[in-house]
Symmetry: C2
DNA sequence: AGGTGTGAACACTTTCACAGCA
DNA sequence: TGCTGTGAAAGTGTTCACACCT
């Protein structure tokens, strides 16, 4: 299959979210126009995105909601569940562990690790926080496929390397560092500091623009 | 000034992070080649990104580290600090409140809000969690410029609207919904579920590819 | 009529390659 | 010589516009 761009996949994810909502609202069918409006994109974009994977719509009618939901779930690999390990039992780790949307989409956190002796042994629901040294053996024993990295920046590369050696195939990285990994691994980064700096840039550059305009106007 | 693309701004953020590390390591100068390697991009890309804002390097020598750090801080609007309100005192809110990188970059969380009576009145460091109804008055009184939205999806649009009316200029949104806002607002979304689904897609499509290859090989 | 699927046009980003300065 | 800054080329992603099906 042709290579699909990351923005396209991200939009599929959005479409699925919208469609589930529409399904709850009871509508049986939905046009690309309406789907686009609710997902924050354009009708042409919606049709192009979907067309890469097949033809799902009916001309003159739109998309059948439950059918498109199933198709997107299949495309995104959400029909099965994934075995996930969480590394880092700090505040971010705790927030992610409690994030209901993960579980709902079939991301089952089946092990939690940390280095801090004060955290090791704590009960988190039905799990017990385990020492980081057990990562390799546990990854194999529990058949972990994905790990969520919620550790400090300095520790992230080391943990990632060990996870890779233990057979993990995907990493969701919350540490603000560029990880060096073999190409065979799937990696996604969530960098909150970067997003915040993006906001800061946007606000600061608007201020600069406003100042310039004022100066021009008064000049 | 010419419009700068979002990927460019994101990379500036990465460059700044790398440069600070290099600064700690004591190097006075850095080539685009080395900066690119550590930031996970290419030398040409680094030079193009920086060239939009001016000329910072010296031919034959590279970039002076402290100078480039200052320049990037200025460009990104990180020389000043920003007054930030946090809405949502749940687990995600707590994680963000404790996220040291925010404070370090000058994002000062000066107010926390929630609807839950059990949370209202709680002490969070030197702050007290306030009822959501106070958002408008507090935003004005505390001159909030940015809010972090860490509320459930259903509540996000309403809170955002109120924040906008109260004069907030930027929103960092953690709720998995497309917010509808006036163009004058700066908005950044952090969607962890979407990232996870991106991982799922990558792993599932690799499996599909592997199966196809095997079938071809055995055919 | 209404709305999809899609080639072709367009816009934007990245990479190349090299002139030119320290 | 070494490495930046930058036009020009290549590559990607988005939008347009319309043929075609229901």
């Amino acid at each position: 299959m042709k290579k699909i761009s990351e923005p396209t996949v991200n939009r599929l994810s959005m479409y699925l979210r919208v469609l589930r909502q529409v399904e709850r609202e009871g509508a049986a069918t939905l046009s690309s126009e309406e789907l686009a409006r609710r997902a924050g994109t354009t009708a042409a974009q919606v049709r192009k995105d979907l067309s890469v994977f097949g033809t799902f719509g009916t001309r003159g009618r739109g998309y059948a909601v439950p059918e498109l939901v199933s198709a997107l779930r299949r495309i995104l690999g959400l029909e099965r569940s994934w075995r996930v390990g969480l590394v880092g039992a700090g505040k971010i780790g705790a927030a992610l562990f409690g994030y209901a949307d993960f579980r709902r989409q079939g991301f089952d956190i089946v092990a939690v690790f940390d280095v801090d002796p004060a955290k090791i042994g704590q009960r988190w629901d039905e799990l017990v926080v385990r020492p980081l040294e057990e990562l390799e053996t546990a990854a194999a024993a529990d058949a972990l496929e994905i790990i969520i990295l919620a550790v400090p920046a300095e520790a992230a590369q080391d943990v990632a390397d060990r996870a890779v050696r233990a057979g993990v195939r995907g990493i969701l990285n919350f540490a603000p560092v560029k990880l060096n990994l073999p190409e065979t691994l799937a990696l996604k980064n969530v960098n909150m500091a970067m997003e915040m700096e993006g906001l800061s840039y946007a606000l600061a550059s608007r201020e600069r623009a406003a100042r310039t305009t004022t100066r021009k106007r008064t000049a």
